[in-house]
């Protein structure tokens, strides 16, 4: 029935469908054009980026074809900006830091918070109730409220390195993760776990062999939401990390501006492309999970 109806409405709309398709094709190209302009400009000589921001040649095409080609050769400088950008930001080490922190924090959050959520749901005491309430509460507290004290405490506890900041992320990201996991654990029937326990599983075995596999959809959602947050986060790592030693990608981009006073736009364009590229690749590979994760997160959060 439903499929049939969908077909009917598709057929009915088909008359004007191509207009919408054409319109959205144009809008879509415009939509990603800022990124395309940045990619284009990342190959231009930095002196020319603001003189010819949207063109591909220093000369007008009306001046003749050979002039136009010469202008193009003049405008572009190959991978020079990329070399400068990589050097100025030490990009590879920043990428390594970002990757390490994101993967580490997501794994730790997923593991610890799913275990904690199961404990909170299955052991009903005043303590677990309080903890759940506090987790909910932490979700509405803006980071500015804790940024000063949190960064000072992290310093005092020697957490100002990529390994330490993962613990900070677990602490500050626990609210959302515990909330989402408890929501799902509540819907799992007790019988499966009881059966496992009667068969002689310890709580640890029960959790990892029985409960954790059932939690998979929520795990994916939590992992994606937390990964998007941690990878793009600027303020928390810039305050907590020892900036002279460790930078993440957003920090490197921001400091590319400050360290020179004025911005080296050539290097900036190249670094922006390098910062966007991994995200686009990840998005293309995991698109389905990302959109589902975002949807589940939005509806519950």
């Amino acid at each position: 029935m439903a499929a049939n109806k969908e077909q009917v409405s598709t057929v009915r709309r088909a008359k004007h469908g191509w207009i919408l398709t054409a319109l959205f094709t144009i809008i879509s190209i415009l939509w990603i054009s800022p990124i395309l302009v940045v990619v284009l400009n990342s190959f231009k000589r930095k002196a020319f980026i603001f003189r010819y921001p949207f063109g591909i040649s220093a000369n007008k095409i009306t001046e003749g074809w050979s002039e136009f080609i010469a202008g193009t050769k003049n405008l572009f400088c190959g991978t020079l900006n990329y070399q400068n950008g990589l050097k100025a930001t030490n990009f590879l080490s920043c990428f390594g830091n970002s990757l390490f922190i994101t993967v580490g924090a997501v794994l730790l959050i997923v593991l610890c918070c799913s275990m904690c959520a199961w404990y909170i749901v299955r052991v009903k005491t005043k303590g677990t109730k309080l903890m759940y309430t506090l987790c909910l509460f932490s979700m509405i507290v803006p980071f500015q409220m804790v940024m000063f004290t949190l960064s000072k405490f992290a310093n005092m506890l020697h957490l100002s390195n990529p390994l330490g900041i993962i613990v900070v992320y677990l602490g500050f990201g626990a609210g959302l993760a515990v909330f989402m996991f408890t929501g799902f654990v509540k819907s799992i029937s007790l019988e499966i776990e009881e059966a496992a326990m009667i068969d002689g599983c310890t709580p640890l075995q029960t959790f990892f062999l029985v409960v954790f596999p059932i939690l998979k959809p929520t795990t994916v959602t939590v992992a994606i939401l937390e990964a998007m947050w941690v990878w793009n986060d600027y303020l928390l790592p810039s305050l907590v990390l020892n900036i002279n030693k460790y930078k993440t990608i957003p920090i490197a981009v921001q400091y590319l501006k400050q360290s020179h006073g004025q911005i080296d736009w050539g290097a900036m364009m190249a670094v922006l492309v390098l910062a966007i590229l991994p995200i686009v690749i990840f998005y293309i590979i995991c698109q389905k999970y990302i959109i589902e994760g975002v949807l589940a997160g939005a509806v519950k959060g």
Partner: protein
Amino acid sequence: MGDKSPAPLILSGRVEKGTVMEKAIRKYFPIFALPTLLAFTIGFIVPFLYGIFLSFCEFTTVTDWSWVGLKNYTKIFVVNGTLDTSFLHSMWYTALFTVVSVCIINIMSFIIAMALTKGIKGTNLFRTVFFLPNLIGGIVLSYVWLMIFNAILQNFSKTIVTSQWSAFWGMVIVVCWQQIGYMMIIYIAGIQNIPGELIEAAKIDGANAWQLLRHVTLPMLMPTITICTFLTLTNGFKLFDQNLALTGGNPGKLSQLLALNIYDTMYGTSGWQGIGQAKAVIFFILVAIIAVVQNKLTTSKEVES
């Protein structure tokens, strides 16, 4: 035993097993709950409570505090007998920014979502493209747009920070570009959840496109609209990265949103940490009020439906 009905037996058995299980799990507290609890204490509980405490103190770091009572809170508005309007300015600037961006994002993403649920060719590709900017972080995104804005505005010998209004609209464009795709995804899911029978029935009854939208689609989408409105509302209110990277609060702190104003007070001027912390407490209360109102609205909606 045999005479008894089986139901109570199973019930009592289950209750007993439940408590046995609970006891067994409780022994594993150090493994299951303690790591998260410790990190949560370090990462949230202690900084939060200590932050509230410090808002009543004068301090430069967490150990050298001295109690000053409500002085920090009055200093937000009055410094040495003269009125300081910077916080009030960023308050209404933030409120205006939030209202404008909430309206534009929700209307645009709703229109796009309506168009992309008509089953036109290329729908999936369009969705992918619209959602993409959402994954790019605020800092990176803002430098992309800073280049575009300044490249265009240089033709009028202006930059994005020429006035607080160019900065304002610059930030609006950036957050729209970032969030329209995200809200579109939520609206699409909402629209697809409307039962097809309802639309067909309305059509049979002779409803035109406008009536269909006004009396069927929009009422059915109210839960989705509430979610999206509050998501954009809190996002706008808490906006920081885009503000820092795109305008840096320029010209002359006039384009500072609340979050950046707090950051600037705390780290920009030595000796003002206490005032920054007091501002942060007020900021927290504002955000909390929004969250509580949202919670009230969504739960009352759930009861209705």
